[in-house]
């Protein structure tokens, strides 16, 4: 029932996972893409962490790689955490966290629609805002509308 600071959380995580899987950096945990589901279910399932509420999912195009950013919080302990996952630009596929947090459903679709990162295991991954046949992914830095 007590809030953990970021360092404590990072300590718990690094005790369990190897640094190439999860590494704390500048107030956030950087997770390797293939380990995301494993780490996320640990974060969600461990009683002293208990990250049961996914605030936000978004993606940033860093010209070369995408960074998917997850903001988590725990209603019980009221501590929060930022997860960052990198994925390469040429193969933008991520595991979906919908099985853990349903709240990711529409947000992952949004990222897919506007950023072009697809999520493996998402139940209904199709364009959310734009229509079928829209060319390109507008939030990528190399997007130009052509008008």
């Amino acid at each position: 029932m007590q809030a953990l600071s970021f360092d404590e959380i990072a300590g718990l995580i690094s005790a369990k996972y190897a640094p190439e899987m999860v590494a704390p950096s500048q107030g956030s945990l950087v997770v390797g893409g293939e380990h995301l589901l494993e780490v996320a279910s640990y974060l969600r399932g461990t009683p002293e962490l208990d990250f049961d509420y996914l605030i936000s999912v978004t993606a940033v195009d860093y010209r070369g790689h995408f960074e998917i950013v997850y903001h988590l919080t725990s209603l019980q302990h009221s501590h929060s955490l930022v997860l960052k996952v990198r994925c390469p630009q040429d193969k933008p596929v991520m595991p979906s966290v919908v099985s853990l947090w349903r709240g990711a459903d529409l947000q992952e679709r949004e990222v897919f629609d506007l950023m072009g990162v697809s999520f493996a295991g998402h139940p209904n991954l199709k364009r959310l805002f734009l229509w079928d046949g829209f060319k390109g992914y507008p939030l990528r830095k190399d997007y130009s509308s052509g008008t």
């Binding site: 605030i55 936000s56 459903d105 529409l106 947000q107 805002f129 229509w131 997007y143």
Partner: protein, 367 residues
Amino acid sequence: MALKTEPFVLNIGPLHPSTHGVFRLLATLDGEVVIDIEPIIGYLHRGIEKLAEEREYQKDIPLCDRLDYVAAMSHSMAYVMAVEKLLGISVPERAEYIRVIMVELQRIASHLLAVGSIANEIGTFFTPFMYMFRERERILDLFDMVCGQRLLYNYMRFGGVSHDLPEEFIPALAKFINQMPGYIDEYDQLLAENEILLVRTKGIGVLPPELAINCSVSGPTLRASGVARDIRRCDPYSIYDRFEFDIPTRTAGDCYDRYRQRIEEMRQSLRIIRQAVEQLPQGKVNSQVPIRVRPPQGDVFVHVEAPRGELGFYLVSDGSEKPYRFHIRAPSLINLTPLREMIIGWKLADAIVIFGSIDIIMGEIDR
């Protein structure tokens, strides 16, 4: 003998009297019973995130106003708070108080609209809606007095607000907060125990708390399900830790509770405004921030309690005068996640009421 029936698909929207804008609900009906729905959105996707990344920080404030056009103050406040956090600047005391007053007034205005539209969707011929609009107009008048606009204010600035309150504002506000509790009681009198309203909302569209948490639902919709999560209390921003107010919650999580929840929150907002007016200090309302700001590299996530739920801004700065990434965590969009579970199995008429009771704004969903 069971009657042989065939389900059929009804396309509700995008332009439908009760879709709150341009929302499309593809409902499969068996007679009157909704057996499947698929929400289709994007009819108001204006590309605000992309536009914001192409403009300077200052020019994004009007865009934020247009996100949720019935709660423009809350949205621009969240945005300027995010940029202030990036810049590492502080806000003068008086400006903080003014912001709180504005945002809480905005919450009342927005909840008035929400409650009015719930009543409208149950089928009252616009009457409660008109009554709610009567009071909403008074709030809009107050905003008009402060910043000359009725709907989209462009009032917040980095490091404060654009200008000080006019002289006549505080007396007008005092009059309003003295009268408003009476009006809220009037709505209670007219609506809360109306037999038809009760049978149309009680027990309808229950959102269990576990599902609500799992689906990241926030705001009054979450609190009506019994989860006391309010950013103003659990992660206090601005000066909310100086005020006394309750976080009302309900237990059942049905449409009736979502309606009552908003009524209660209006009362709490009035409490906050009253305290803020009493404590309102003198002083300047803006710290000198250049028009073209260049925040240092880094990212920031700021979330506030907007009328519809947890509104978050995730900004990434690359040191230039335009945001590198501008992401909005839109409460309305995420509150739609459990819509299918809530609606399925109810009648078509209930589906409309359930949808209305979540209280969404398309501008924020589609962005």
